[in-house]
Amino acid sequence: MSQINRLPSGARIDSSVAVKFTFNGKQLQGVAGDTLASALLANGVNVVGRSFKYSRPRGIVGHGAEEPNAIMQIGSGAGTVPNLKATQVELYEGLEAASVNGWPSVNFDLMSITGWFGRLMPPGFYYKTFMYPAKLWMTYEHFIRKAAGLGSSPVQDDPDSYDKLNQHCDLLVVGAGPAGLMAAREAARAGARVIIADEQSEFGGSLLASTQRIDGRSATGWVEEIVAELNAFANVQTLPRSTVFGYYDHNFLGILQRRTDHLVLRAAAGARQRLHRVRAKQVILATGAFERPLVFAHNDIPGVMQASSVSTYINRYGVAPGNRLLVFTTNDNAYQTAIDWHRTGRTVVAVIDSRAAPEGQLVAAARQLGIQIMAGHGVIEAQGGKRVKRALVAPLSADGSEITGAVQRLGCDLIACSGGWSPAIHLSSHTGAKPTWDQNIHGFRPGESKQQERSVGACGGSYALSACLAEGAAAGAEMAHLTGHGDGILHFPVPEAEEVQEQPQQALFLVPHTKATSRAPSQFVDMQLDVSASGIELAVREGFESVEHIKRYTAMGFGTDQGKLGNINGMAILANALGQSIQETGTTIFRPSYTPTTFGAIAGRDVGDLFDPERYTAMHRWHQDQGAEFEDVGQWKRPWYFPQSGESMLEAVNRECLAVRNSVGILDASTLGKIDIQGPDAAEFITRMYTNSYLKLAPGKCRYGVMLKEDGMIFDDGVCACIADNHYLMFTTTGGAAGVLAWLELWQQTEWPHLQVYFTSVTDHWATATISGPNARKVLAKVCDDIDLANNAFEFMDWRDGTVAGVDARVFRISFTGELTYEINVPAHYGRHIWEALIAAGEEFGITPYGTETMHVLRAEKGFIIVGQDTDGSMTPADMNMDWVVGKNKSFSFIGKRSLQRSDSVRENRKQLVGLKTVDGTQVLPEGAQVVFDPQQVIPMSMQGHVTSSYYSANMGHSIALAVVKGGHSRLGQIVHCPLADGRTIAAEIVSSVFYDSKGERQNVQ
């Protein structure tokens, strides 16, 4: 096939540069500057796809974002992209395109459902059937799903990267047509920071295909000049190939910039697309308008196109998509298409004008060229299979609602339609502005602004070029002024454009047929989803009245074109069926995205390794070097266990556990949250936050505390140390650090600002090496000579300043394992130094690095809880058997205290923390196992609690578990059962939650 429809020239193509591409496997050739659509049309391709529901053959209708039919799968393999509109795909060498529907091919589709069969599938047919027998639904659904969908998702990981820019500007101009360009220039001249974005490959909008002249120059020449001027401003960013896809609150807008899609399938390097997150002080919407199609029988046959699109293909791309043109219009604009076509030397069969007596300037021009005009007529049906062959034309009544005479057949292969224009009000609707119907333009205008924005030019309902230029300029100057730039007055003349005298258009939303709508051949409203006028009328007959119901019942406007062409006709047909006005009927709400937006671009750079920060301690690389396995705790990577070669996790953990109990282990505890607290009221404040009191805690001393939320439930826990008078250091859980700091600030700043206390996070400042075990003191003594480590000099729950391995350190004698433990804190720059020094010092004792798993086992042996594991937001201190940590006599009603007295908090039979010892000590209960008293009962069983922590304890020689069990504290010695998913039921005895060293003597090693 050759480019049979290519004209000698087109304004924006370079015919001398051939571009090869494939369509459905077939080699074709276009030229530089083509879109995929223009190249397909140049090659005379009629059928580009099949429709969603009825698999009807479909051709290219439009030339931009409005295109409903030409939906393509571009490329193959990892780089493939589904559902691109051929009208928006710029052609590049080697581009592969394929239709998304049609099996085995678009030209011969076995799924094609026409005539009678199609009649069995009216809107909502699936709600009425496939119900019996009930069990077959999943089978029916399987076939429904198979038939649905457009293109195919890639199945390989996306090889491309995406990024984002956070932009701030005084003025964002959306759309670089005549109005937008003028607005940007005026604002730029006034000194405002301007961003102007346009979805097309180059600026100019409608001017790129216009034959009008501006200031005596060609439209494209004028565009080149103003774009050059804009590019020269330092305060202007010009963004072609950039779609403003969403308008969000407080003048935040999203722009998708396509950086490489016009060159290659996969960006070789750099970001394929870039998302601009724009916060604009003011916004000018200059998004233009969409030509409205005309709804007549079989208006979906390939060869029925938008009149303005036909002109665009001729003028911009040098393509005449057919031979014998019939124009069908309700207005003057489409006469330009007839004139453009006439100029190509191809045949204009006639202009069918629904108006009785068209007399505008373009009408006269067409008449002068000898083009036949049939006034007061309409195309009531197109005929043909894969291409229009003829049109049925009939005289219409003055209001266009009835056929008043005989039907004629006119042979043609292209019907260019124009039903007037619909402003592209999508972005203003995103803000919640309610569109208003304008009887003069027969379209919805943008509603009253909800944001700092204004619509100008065609998207505001002003279609004349001179008006677009003037409105754009005025708005640019004024909005620049609103942002503090210029005086708001135009200081430069607005360019002059030829005025074209036009007559009013006629409103014609549904062209009558000789048969009633329900019986006529389908008159399509929304082509992508096969919604017809009869479908809308059927929905009304079935009782739907709201426009949203109609949309949902028929699926009108739900396509990937979001009904840019069909919606207004659909609303009007609905209004007519309901017997009410279009304004009363209203329109559906447009939502982002204006055009579909790549997931990866919205995700941006924050995927893969950068999905979420990995936080490391100062010793992290040492752990890595030792082959540690890591556990995610919040954003932190913590060593989970340190397997030696060939060791299983259980073996490693057993070894680590025994080492700590028998000699000494070392843990990286740097991730614990740490908050420095200073101020005269620090003790009072801390005492209000914890359940126990800190008023008498002396410098050098530590105390363990539990923090509740005001609902009385445990929220965090940790040790708090008194550093000096009015100076404390609070430890939090690893995951709770940020939450606790915000919690402290909340109470101090908003409830008790009179309490003088400051909080500063020092989590990152301190690296913490914890050495634990009977030999801990001996290890520390080797690297520390300025602290008296004697048991009675440096007691449990004391801390000391000193020098460890030559570094200023703060050493805490606290313990989460029950063994003699020193937590050695140094500024993190020395973290690795101190760690390595302790490892070296401990070598003779076989010092063993251990991870979080061993820490968990050892603390469970001691019955110490982990907030978030043994508690779940519904546990009080009493539930955890920790009444001892609740200060009963504190003068201030600490946070959460009152809630502990609520009727449910004092209820008997609350779940309480206990130990579980399996009857068969080799069996380890799974964490999360449910506890029942009677394993024989039928389902649903009465569950009494669950296992929160469970391990094999190498020290005890049997498994141990912590659980919460209803009334557990009074059930010691009872046997409970854990029925598991694998069919086993494990019996266990309720025991004290302290399995090991219940008197707490181990840490007193001398």
């Binding site: 820019l165 956070n166 920060p613 990995e614 490391y616 101020g679 500063t760 301190w766 993190a828 390595e836």
Partner: protein, 216 residues
Amino acid sequence: MSSNPVNITVDRPLQYFHSLSSHQTDSQSTDIFNGDVDFGLVVKEAPLCTHLNVRGSAQDQSFVAGISQLLGVALPTEPGTYHCNQQQAIYWLGPDEWMLVSQTGAVELEAALRKTLSGHISIVDVSGGQTLINLRGADSALRTLLKKSSVYDFDSWPQAKKEAGRCAQTTFAKATAVVSNKSDGSFDLIVRRSFADYIAHWLLDAGQEFGCRIEG
């Protein structure tokens, strides 16, 4: 307490990234990226400095004056500003919170401050918890990198002077940073230590289109 001894390995937060770089995208891409690829970005971690978090009342004249006299730098009380001299910089973080980054030793400086200041104040040594890194390069590359990394509008800042400029504590990728502009057109970042690897990784990745190198 002894001062920092010799023969002790000191890990700087970005240590493992020093001398790493991400290479500028290949020449073919220059066309693609509209020719905005012409200069590298350089990330340089400052040698270990003292970082003190200072709290106090900006309404307390003795506090304001005490700091100014001791440091020879006026306490910045205008939101989002910093003042500096050869020895140190002091950044506004909040209405009663400042970050003091200094060449003086932490212990020494904290002691001096505590001696000078009285009343309800707080001074916290966070030197181990953060690091200062400088970003320099072509202005457009720098600003693009910042736009990729933070929601803050750095273009709204006037050019910094030698002894003062603007600063903002804000989001930086999915972490936070104190960002400030310098009179030479470069920017300083103060980031938290545990996020340093992530930030370095981010800078190399986001800066790749310009070519980005990390120096110690």
